[in-house]
Amino acid sequence: MSVKGKKITVHDMTLRDGMHPKRHQMTLEQMKAVAKGLDEAGVPLIEVTHGDGLGGSSVNYGFPAHSDEEYLSTVIPLMKQAKVSALLLPGIGTVDHLRMAKDLGVHTIRVATHCTEADVSEQHISLARKLEMDTVGFLMMAHRNTPQGLVTQAKLMESYGANCIYVTDSAGYMLPEDVRTSLGAVRAALKAETELGFHGHHNMSMGVSNSIAAVEVGATRIDAAAAGLGAGAGNTPMEVLIAVCNRMGIETGVDLFKIEDVAEDIVVPLMDHPIRIDRDSLTLGYAGVYSSFLLFAKRAEAKYKIPAREILMELGRRGMVGGQEDMIEDAAITMARERGLLA
C-alpha cells in the first residue's frame, strides 16, 4: 500500500517512556532542554510524566526526582507550538491526577490498560472527554490479544469517548505482519473519525518497520523518542523514523536535522547507559515481556545472582503484565532459593 502523501502526527516519548532508563531521575533542566529542542524541531505532541504515568511515583516503580506537577508545569509554558500529553494507568493513577493534569494545561490524556482489560478505563476516558481533552485509549501488551480481541477492546474505549485508539507493543514483540493484521482489524472496526495510533519498542529492532506498517494500514499517530530513549531497547528512534518518512513521502512536519541534533546533542549525553539491544532487552522482545522490567531484572541479577535473561523468561512464562514490577524481585528470590543460592 502506498503511504506517499499520508500525514501523520508523531508523538514524542523521550520525557515519559524515556524516564524508565533514567530511573525517573530526569532533572527539570534536562526536561526543559529536550522539550525546547523537540518544540523547535516541529514535534507536535510531547508526553511528560513519570514513566509509569501520572501517580507512578512509588516504591514499586521508583520515586522520581520531581513530581508530575513539577515536570508538567516546567515544560508546558515553554512550548511555542507543541502540545503536551500525559499518560494515566487506571489502578495506578486516578481521575484526581487527570484533573490535575488538565488544570496544568495538558492537552492530551492517554488512558492505558492491558490489552484485555479496557473496561477499567471507563471512568477516566469519559471524564477526559467531558473535560474536552484529546482523549486516547492505549491498549498495552497488544501481542497478548488476537486481532478480534483487540477490536472488542478498542471499541469499548471508543464507546467511553476516546477519539483515538493506540495498539501498543509494550514488549517490542510484534513483527510487521502482526502490526498490519492487528491494526488493520482495529482500523476497519473503528468509526472513521476515530484516529488509530501505534507505540513501538525496539527490542527486536522493529520500531521503525512496525511504525511504517502501522501507517500503511491507517495509523495516523506514531510514538517515537529522540535517540530512542525509552524502556527496554528504547522506543522507535524519532530521528530515524523522520528520515524514513521523508524518503517514503510520509508527512510529519518535523525537521530532520533539528531532530537529529536533539537526539545527538541533548538526549545521548543524558543517557545513564547506552540504549541498545543487549541480550536482556532482546529477551524482552523475544519472550514478550513489558519493557520497563529491564532495569529491575538487572538489579535483581546483581542482588540474587540469577541472570536477568532467565528472570525475564520466567516472567514471560508466568504471563506477567505491565505494572507487575513487584514480581521481579519475588521471582528472583524464588529462583535463587530453588537453585540453592538462598536459604
Binding site: 514499586n60 492491558h114 471512568q123 508466568r318 503484565v321 524481585e329
Partner: protein, 305 residues
C-alpha cells in the same frame, strides 16, 4: 443448639453467594434473608434453594420483616452508590451493617488489626475496606507495631476472571479506599495502593506485595517475628493466606510478597481476593454476634447520619 444471630445478605452476586456459604457454616450466625433487585437472578434462586427467604425488591422488600424475623446483622455486597441508603434504612431499625462495598461511611475494619476495638465501640456500620486492603493491611500493621512506618504501599494483583464489573467500573475507589486504610488502620504516615488485573490462563492466584519504608533502620528480627505472628492471625479465617517471599530488607525498605488462595466455597480458589473479603466480613459478624449472645452488646436503632 446455642442461639444464633440472624442475618440478611444484600446483593446475591458472587460475593453475596460466597458469603452465604461461609455463614451457613458459622456456629453463631444464621443467614435468613437474601436481598436482590432482579427477579431472574441466579443468586436469589440459589439462596432460596438453600432455605433463605428472598426478595427482589431491594432493601425495601426486607424492611417489613426485620422485626418479625429478628434480623440483627446485615451484609451489603452491592455497590458504593446504594450503600448509604441501604445502611440508613437498616440501622434505623437497629440492624448492624457490615459494608463490603468501598463506600466506607463507617470505620474501616481489618479483623486481626482493629476488630476488637470496633466491638468495644459498638459501631452500627463497619466497612471491610477492599480485598487488597484485607490482604495487606495486617502486614503494614505488623511492621508499624514494631517501629514507625513513614510510607506504606501495596500492590494487589488479581486475575481477570475474579475482577467483577463493580471493581472495573470504579477502580479509583479501590486505590482511594485502600490507601486511606493503609494510613488509618495500618498505621503508615502515608499510604499508596496499586491494583493490577492479569488475564493469564489458568487464572493466577491473588498476589499481594507490601512495601514499607520505616523510620530509621528496620529492626529485622522484630519485624520478621511480628509479620510471622500476624500471618498466623490472618490464617485463622483465611487458611490460604501465605507468605511467598520476604520480608526483604533493603535500606529502610521492607517488602513482603504474599499469595491469597481462596477456600473455593462458591468462587474458584484463585479468587483469594473475593474470599478474603467474605471471610473477613464473616469473622467480623461472628465477633459482634458473640458479644450480642453474651449480652455484652444490645443493638439500638440509629438515626441516619
Amino acid at each position: 443448639m446455642t442461639k444464633k444471630i440472624r442475618c440478611a445478605l444484600i446483593g446475591p452476586g458472587n460475593i453475596g453467594t460466597d458469603l452465604l456459604y461461609k455463614l451457613k457454616r458459622s456456629p453463631v450466625l444464621e443467614p435468613v434473608w437474601m436481598v436482590g433487585v432482579d427477579p431472574t437472578s441466579e443468586g436469589l434462586k440459589r439462596a432460596r434453594e438453600m432455605g433463605l427467604k428472598t426478595t427482589d425488591q431491594g432493601v425495601d422488600g426486607l424492611l417489613p420483616y426485620v422485626a418479625a424475623d429478628n434480623v440483627q446483622i446485615a451484609f451489603d455486597a452491592t455497590s458504593a452508590y446504594v450503600h448509604k441508603e441501604n445502611s440508613d434504612k437498616l440501622t434505623a431499625l437497629g440492624v448492624m451493617m457490615i459494608d463490603l462495598t468501598p463506600a466506607a461511611i463507617g470505620p474501616f475494619c481489618v479483623p486481626p488489626v482493629n476488630l476488637k476495638q470496633h466491638v468495644g465501640k459498638r459501631e452500627m456500620n463497619v466497612n471491610m475496606v477492599t480485598c487488597g486492603g484485607q490482604a495487606t493491611i495486617p502486614m503494614i500493621a505488623a511492621i508499624s507495631q514494631v517501629q514507625p512506618v513513614k510510607y506504606g504501599e501495596i500492590v494487589a494483583t488479581i486475575s481477570s476472571k475474579s475482577a467483577g464489573p463493580g471493581t472495573r467500573k470504579n477502580i479509583d475507589e479501590f486505590t482511594r479506599t485502600t490507601s486511606a486504610a493503609i494510613e488509618r488502620v495500618g498505621g503508615a504516615k502515608q499510604g499508596k495502593a496499586i491494583i493490577i488485573i492479569n488475564p493469564a490462563e489458568p487464572p493466577l492466584i491473588m498476589r499481594d506485595t507490601v512495601h514499607c519504608l520505616t523510620e530509621g533502620e528496620p529492626d529485622q528480627a522484630a519485624i520478621t517475628a511480628s509479620v510471622a505472628e500476624m500471618i498466623k492471625e490472618v490464617q485463622k479465617y483465611v487458611p490460604g493466606y501465605k507468605r511467598v517471599n520476604g520480608p526483604v530488607f533493603d535500606g529502610n525498605r521492607v517488602s513482603i510478597y504474599l499469595e491469597v488462595e481462596g477456600l473455593g466455597d462458591f468462587l474458584p480458589k484463585y479468587s483469594g481476593n473475593l474470599d478474603i473479603m467474605t471471610a473477613a466480613a464473616a469473622r467480623t459478624a461472628e465477633m459482634f454476634a458473640e458479644e450480642i449472645i453474651a449480652g455484652r452488646i444490645t443493638l439500638r436503632p440509629t438515626a441516619a447520619v
